[in-house]
Amino acid sequence: MKKDLLSIADLSSEEIYSILDTAEAMREIGERPIKKVPTLRGKTIVNLFYEPSTRTRTSFEVAEKRLSADTLNIAVATSSVVKGETLADTALNIEAMAPDMIVLRHASSGAGHLLSRICRSRIINAGDGMHEHPTQALLDAFTIRQHKERIEGLKVAIVGDLLHSRVLRSNVLLLTRLGAHVWVSGPPTLVPPGIERLGVRVSTSLEQAVADADVIMMLRIQQERMQGAFFPSLREYFSLFGMTVERVKRAKPEVIIMHPGPMNRGVEIASEVADGPYSVILEQVANGVAVRMAVLYLLAGGVEVD
């Protein structure tokens, strides 16, 4: 492993499988009466979150605590950032207190790369703008493998707000690297130009994208990142791209439905689907802890020498 986890693009398929295999062992720790191992005793991990997050931040914190690391959370609303401090200055000040790792969530793409250049601490990207969210893609792959026992050769349909989605980019890089056939679908205004160069098939027909799919991954409509009108109304969006029971039937009978959360019920996904028998959405959350424990453990070791 490299010093930092910034992008799926930095990982070889061997490294991805090693993270997934390690996560299998980590999952068992969460099933014990004492859900803690001493592995990262004495390590300090800072969770630096510049954007709201429930799932990811809690998941990292639970993972860190299960490995016995000392954790501290910096939520920007209560920090000096509101007084005008830059990201680099904040990072250097935290760095002066000698943490071992910084988990960063930031609204700007590439924020992790900036910190990686100026910090000695290992940096884990927990979502940077519209760029990447690598641990989400890893936990998605872990969940798919749990249900399908493989990733290679599966048809995965990713549907929704493709343009603003860092989850999409990380998932596309990871799934294509492991040999899945990835289809993406959304309204033309929300399809990033050139996306097919990442090795995916694009269709503005949801029906075509999900036909015979093994996995359907829904993406949230990110209204907070939208400046301007990308579609006429949420109701119209749902009627064309919302995942309904009818549309799920076009996929394989044993399809699994995923969503990285938070869900907009009735916008990208119908409640009957989100709570239905094919949904693995809450398993994704549970697996997130195991996968993040694996990433923390593997990154805490030595650095590869070139």
Partner: protein, 172 residues
């Protein structure tokens, strides 16, 4: 040590276990990954043949408890494998099984790892080979063979289930 000798050694250890514990009801075997696990299964098999009792058997990976993790600035982390202890260890007499007893650090880690699963009545240590050079105050309760070695040598235990053959060899 060849396959025949290894089989007889395990049978002898099984008898010692039964003699010392006067009954098998409270016993449970826990093998330390990797090679302690098949050894624990074989001991369970021998005990079943002698006493017609099934002794619960589990596997413990101790990687996350090692005291030498994070001490190397270079190189990848050791692989973590699954721990499978599908029974409660509370009030059991646990027989911890490993292939080679050397510095004692693995056993130290295994003791830490085990007590997180509950509070056994007792923990006893079974090893196939004791090669000396202890760095911690740890002693085995059942030893297959004492093998005096130099620190520069390495003791390799090969097991049918993993390596395709049964043998204990000393390498220079």
């Amino acid at each position: 040590m060849d396959a025949d000798r290894m089989g007889r050694t395990l049978t002898r250890i099984a008898h010692e276990i039964l003699e010392r514990n006067r009954g098998v009801e409270e016993l449970a075997l826990v093998g330390i990954r990797t090679r302690g696990v098949p050894l624990a299964r074989r001991l369970a098999q021998v005990i079943r043949e002698i006493s017609h009792h099934e002794v619960p058997t589990g596997a413990r990976d101790i990687t996350l408890y090692r005291d030498d993790l994070m001490r190397h600035a270079v190189g990848a982390q050791p692989v973590v494998r699954r721990t499978e202890i599908p029974f409660s260890i509370d009030d059991k007499r646990i027989l911890l099984v490993d292939d080679v007893l050397y510095t004692g650090r693995t056993i130290r880690a295994a003791l830490d790892a085990l007590v997180e699963f509950g509070r056994p009545r007792a923990i006893q240590l079974v090893v196939l080979v004791d090669r000396g050079h202890r760095e911690l105050p740890i002693k085995a309760d059942y030893v297959g063979k004492n093998l005096p070695t130099a620190a520069s040598q390495s003791v390799q235990v090969h097991l049918r289930e993993i390596d395709g053959r049964d043998a204990v060899e000393i390498e220079e």
